[in-house]
Amino acid sequence: MTTLGVTRTTLLKDLRMEWRSKDAINSMLFFALLVVVIFSFAFNPTAEESRRIAGGLIWVAFLFAAVVALNQTWARELRNQVLDAYRVSPAPPNALFLAKAIGNFFFVVVLEALMAPLFVVFYDLRSVGPVWQLIVVALLGTWALVVNGTFFAALSIRTRSREIMLPLILFPISIPALLAMVDATTSILTGEASPDFWIKMLAVYDVVFTAVCLLLFESVLNAE
């Protein structure tokens, strides 16, 4: 099978399983909702100045929610030794990685699409800048979180305290991406600055880390 074929098959399998169980999306949605509600106690969410912190808030909520889904990425494959079977098969490791990353990307984008109206309602958000820029930031930012998150989930699944390990290694590396997402979102929402630099930054971050992930995934998959 070619890389593309393996990627598609694995991706479709994951999407079908998620469609039937809805485990990841439900837990992410509920988690993000909780974060939104809890944040609203920390400050007055409808105040005019809250627009300035909305960017940070939205992304922190999505980041925490994404970790919930990312942690489940490989757990399913660990049961019944699916990963071991994959390792002995001639299928290219990067195809598996790409399928998982694209799957996670899809879940988190769906989460964002469902949560965005809620943010608008609860925090009385209006965008001064063009909305299409927000979509670009969301797509680039989500890929930045998800590509590293999928990789680090493969690392943390092999450690003793699996679920705790993922945020511990993912958050420090993701700091520049988060900074870019938050600042770009805030610039667009307030319309006070141009988000161009941050969008380019995110694009560079995506390219660099996708390359690093693809370069190293085989070693991690075969780590013994």
């Binding site: 511990l168 290694i169 420090p172 590396i173 520049p176 900074l179 013994e224």
Partner: protein, 229 residues
């Protein structure tokens, strides 16, 4: 080999004595900042040594992924630990210096934030090493080390764009930059001394790591031959 190392330790101790004397007594007192500026002779050399350690960590991790030998993994483990130690010294001496000079302990400026993020990345590296099991540790740690090293310039660029307050590089900067020659003299003594301390610590930690591996291998062999001994 051991004799060379002991000679090097003695040399380092001598160097440290000279550099401390240079920093505290020989170097002139800075005009505006006063005596507190002397922390500079510890702050910057520590930052340099931490940087060297993290670079060694990156090289050793790449070599490990390529050659898969335990020695380069031990170098990576040792350099990360020593690097985090020196980075911690930087993060502690920085605020002590900043408080009387800037009037605040901490500011979220580019270099401070980058150093803090660097510290976080390598602490997470050490946590991963601690929590992963058996023979997988080396590969997982090496992969994370490469991620961390690639991340550093991106962190720096992004936070530099974000905000900056830390003084621009004093040495090799513009026209008004540059240290008093007497200060530069003391600074280089300290730079040399701290680098040597870093090397000594790394060598000791490397030996320890290799001994740990040996002990583990012996235990494993004993277990294979039946029962603990």
């Amino acid at each position: 080999m051991k004799r060379i190392f002991i000679a090097f330790v003695v040399f380092t101790l001598g160097l440290l004595a000279v550099s401390t004397y240079q920093a505290l007594f020989v170097a002139p007192t800075e005009q505006t900042m006063g005596e507190v500026q002397r922390i500079f002779y510890y702050h910057v050399p520590s930052a340099w040594t931490a940087g060297v350690c993290f670079f060694v960590n990156f090289l050793a991790s790449v070599v490990y992924l390529w050659k898969r030998n335990l020695a380069s993994d031990a170098v990576a483990a040792a350099s990360a630990e020593v690097g985090v130690t020196f980075c911690t010294i930087v993060l502690i001496t920085g605020p002590i210096w900043a408080r009387p000079v800037w009037g605040i302990w901490w500011t979220w400026d580019a270099r401070l934030t980058t150093t803090l993020v660097l510290w976080l990345i390598y602490v997470s590296y050490l946590v991963l090493r601690r929590f992963s099991a058996g023979g997988q540790t080396q590969v997982l740690a090496a992969a994370l080390a490469i991620f961390g090293f690639v991340d550093v310039p991106i962190v720096y660029m992004s936070i530099r764009w974000f905000r900056t307050q830390h003084p621009s590089p004093v040495m090799g900067g513009g026209e008004n930059s540059g240290l008093d020659p007497a200060m530069l003299h003391a600074f280089f003594w300290n730079l040399a001394a701290f680098t040597c301390v870093g090397i000594v610590l790394m060598v000791v930690r490397y030996r320890l790591q290799m001994l740990e591996e040996e002990v583990e291998a012996t235990h494993a062999a004993a277990a294979l031959q039946g029962g603990p001994r």
